[in-house]
C-alpha cells in the first residue's frame, strides 16, 4: 500500500522470485489456482473475518506480493483444519501455500509474538499450545497429572529436541536451543 492514504497495490512490485521461493518451500501447485473460491467458502477463519483469508493469500502469493503478504498476520491464523485441501478442485493444497508463506516469513523473522512463544513451548515441552492449569484438571477426572507425551518422558523429549536441532530451527530460533 502506498503511503499517504492511497489504497492501491502496485502490481509491478510483485516479485517473481518470491513466487518461485514459495513453490520451492512446498507450494508446488500454487500457479494452478483458478481463484474459484471454494477454499474460502469452507474456511472457518474466513467466516471469522480474517482479513487475508485463504483465497486472497493464494492470489497475493501468485502475484509475488511479498511485502503485502508478510505485513499481514492472517497467515498465522490458519487452524490447520484441512478443509481447503479436501475441497480444492484443482488439487493445489492451499494449506501447503499457507505453510510455505509461514516458512518464508520465519526466514525474515516476520511473525507475531505468540508464534515464537508457541515455537519455544514446542521445543521445550513438545506442545506448542496447552491450557494453563492442566495438571489440576487432569487430576480431577482421575487421569495422571502429566499426559503420556514428551512431558512425561524426559529421554523422549531430549531425543525429540535433537531431531529439532537438525532442522531449520537451528538457524532461525530466536531463543537458545539447549
Amino acid at each position: 500500500m502506498e503511503e499517504g492514504g492511497v489504497n492501491v497495490i502496485d502490481l509491478t512490485q510483485g516479485d517473481e522470485s518470491f513466487v518461485r521461493e514459495l513453490i520451492a518451500l512446498g507450494a508446488d501447485e500454487l500457479r494452478e489456482c483458478i481463484q474459484c473460491g471454494k477454499c474460502a467458502a469452507t474456511c472457518p477463519m474466513a467466516l471469522a473475518g480474517l482479513e487475508f483469508f485463504i483465497k486472497r493469500i493464494v492470489h497475493a502469493a501468485n502475484l509475488g506480493l511479498r511485502d503485502v503478504l508478510l505485513e499481514d498476520s492472517s497467515v498465522w491464523g490458519c487452524q490447520s483444519c484441512n478443509r481447503c485441501v479436501e475441497i480444492c478442485p484443482m488439487d493445489i493444497k492451499p494449506y501447503e501455500v499457507i505453510q510455505a508463506v509461514r516458512r518464508a516469513a520465519m526466514k525474515v523473522e516476520s511473525c507475531p509474538a505468540n508464534t515464537y512463544e508457541g515455537l519455544r513451548n514446542l521445543y521445550r515441552f513438545g506442545h506448542a499450545v496447552f491450557p494453563k492449569g492442566f495438571e489440576e484438571r487432569r487430576k480431577k477426572v482421575g487421569l495422571p497429572e502429566k499426559p503420556p507425551t514428551a512431558l512425561s518422558f524426559d529421554e523422549l523429549r531430549k531425543k525429540y529436541q535433537e531431531v529439532l536441532k537438525q532442522t531449520i530451527l537451528e538457524e532461525i530460533a530466536p531463543f537458545p536451543l539447549d
Binding site: 489504497n7 497495490i9 502490481l11 494452478e32 483465497k55 502475484l63
Partner: protein, 666 residues
Amino acid sequence: MAKVGVYLCHCGENIKGAIDIEELKKYVETLPDVAVVRNYVFMCSDPGQDIIKQDIKSGNVDRVVVAACTPRTHGPIFKKAIEDAGLNGYLFEMANIRDQDSWPHWHNKEGALEKAKRLVRSAVAKVRLNEPLEDRYEDMEKSVLVIGGGVAGMFAALDLANMGLKVYLVERQPSIGGNMAKIDKTFPTMDCSACILTPKMGEVAQHPNIELITYAEVDDVKGYVGNFDIRIKKKVKYIDWDKCIGCGVCTEICPSRVPNEYNFGLNQRRAAYIEFPQAVPKKAVIDESNCLYFKSMKKTGKPACEICKKGIPPKGIQGCPADAIKFDDKDEYMNIKVGAVIIATGFKPMPKHYFKEYSPHSPDVITSMEFERILSATGPTGGELKRPSDGTKPKTIAMISCVGSRDERYHPYCSKVCCMYMLKHARILKDKYPDIKLYLFFIDVRTAGKDFEEFYVYTRELGVKVIRGGRVSVVDVKPNGKLRVRGFDVDLCSPVELEADLVVLATAIEPPDGVEELGRMFTATCGREGFLREVHTKLYPVETQARGVFIAGCVQGPKDIPESIAQARAAASATAALVIPGKIKFEAIISEVDRDKCSSCGVCVPLCPYTAIRIVEYKGKEKAYIEPALCAGCGVCASACPSRAIKFNGFTTEQILAQIDALTEA
C-alpha cells in the same frame, strides 16, 4: 355435399383425461356434412392412420378433420396419410384440442368439453369449404454462390464442390483467407494459422468445381430459391489478371506510400500492391485513389507516373515483366444463375478510437488484431515484438478484455473468443520471452471450449498474472512514455495499478461493413446486434428467413475457428440437401391476385415482407402480381387488399368467416 370424416384422438390420457370423448363424439355426429366420426387412443400411430385411410379408400369420406394435438408437429403426418390414401392433402384440417384445450383447461372438464365442441365445429366449417390445391415443383439450378472467402466460406465451398456442385466463391478483397490469415497462432492447438489455412486456400483455387472470383462484390439479386439470378461486380484492378504472374515488381517500384489497411496502418504499402505474401490469387491490384498516375490525370490530364508499367529506364529498372498494367481497365460485370446462396462474410474487429478512457491516441495502446499482426512473421515488424512508438521491446504488457463487449453503450454481447486469445497471446510471449511480465485483466475468464480449460491452467503455470474484477478503468500516458493501467483486483480485494510498456485492448467482434445491405439484397435480416439472423438459434442456426439463403461463420455471431468451420460445413450440408435433389417444392398455401378485381392501389406491395409483389402490366393496365416462388403464405396482402382482390389459397375469406361463425355460435 362434402363427406367430412372427423377423427377424435385420445392422445393417451392427454386429451381423454380432460375431455369426455364419448360426449364430444355424440355432438360431432350432429354437425352438418359429417359423414363419419371415429375415435382412437393414438390417431398418429399406424393403426390410427389406417382408420382414416380406410374411410377414404372406401369412399365414405372426402374431407378429413383430425381433432388432436398441434398441426405444427403432426400436420404433415396426417397430410401424408391422406395423400397416401388418394385424397388431396389440402382437404384436411386439424382441431387442436390438446395444446389449446385439454392442457390449459385440465381442471375445468365442463369448459374443456364445450370448447372442444366449438373447436371441432370450426374445423368442420372450414374443411367443408377447402379446395384441392397442388404443390408446385420447379427445376433447381445445381450451383451455389458462396459470399466471403474466409475460413467459413472456403470450407463451405470445398464441401459443396466435393459433392459435385458448381460453386462460385466471391470475395471482396483481392485475396481469400479473411481474418484467419491475419492471425499468428490459433488456440488451443497453437497451430500456425497460415500453415493450416494456406493449403485450403490452394485447394479452393485449384478445385475444378470452384470458380474463384476475388476483388468482387454482389451487385444485384433477382429471382428466388432454386433460380437466383445474381449480378457480380468485378472491381477494376488496373492490372490484367490474365497476364499478372504475381512477381511483385510493381509493388516494389511504385513510388506511392499508403497506410497498409491489412496491418491496420502499422506499416505502409504501395498504391500497386499484393495483399499479403501468401495471397491467393497472388496478383496485384492498383489502388486508384492513391495512384500518382490517376491523381495527376485528374488534375492535369497528363500522366505523371507510369513506373509500374514502364520501369525507370535511366536507372535500368524494369517495369512489369508481363505487360499486365492496364490503366484503361474498367469494372466488369458477370451474371450467374445459382440455386442457393451461403453468406459467410465474417467480422470486423472494433477499432480502439471509441475508448477515450484508454488513451487510444497513444501508439502503444493497440487492439488485439493489431497485436496479432505485430506477432505475425508477415506483419509490420516481421514478427519481432516492438513497441509501435519507439521500436523498443516491451518488458511489461497489460491486456484488457471486454473492450466494447458486454457493454450496453457499445455491444451488449460477449465476443466469445477474446478470453482465449488473450491467453494465447500470453503463451506465445512467454514461450519466446520467459522473463516478460504479463498482466491479463478479465471480468470473467471464459474458456469453455474443448481443451480450453487445460490451455488456461497451462498459461497460468507459465507465470502469467490473471487479474479478475471488472474492467480496467483507465489507461494514462505518463510523461516518460509508459502507460499507467488502473483497475480493481477482486481476488485481492484492492484497487491495483501498474506501469506497462504496451497495452493490448481486446476489442469487440463487430458485424462486417455492409452486411445489412447485403442481407437486404437477399431479404435476409439482421438481428438486434447487427449480425445476420438465423431462423432459430438452436434448431436452424444456418438458415435465414429467406429460403435458399444460408449463413455461416462470424457473420451469424462471434465464434472461434472450430465453430466457424463446423457451421460452414453445416451450411454446406443444408444447402446441398436443398440443391442436390434438383427440384424444389413450393407449397400451395400462397396468395394470388385476381387481376380483374385489382384496383392498382399498390397498398400490398410495400407490405409484403418477402418483396414478392410487383406491379406488372396486364390488359393495358398496371396490376399487382405475386411471384409464386417468393410468396411465403403469410396472408398480410390478402387481409390488407381494399378490393378483396387477393385470394389466400388455403385460408380464403369465406373459410375464415365460416370458422368465426362456427366458433361464436351460441
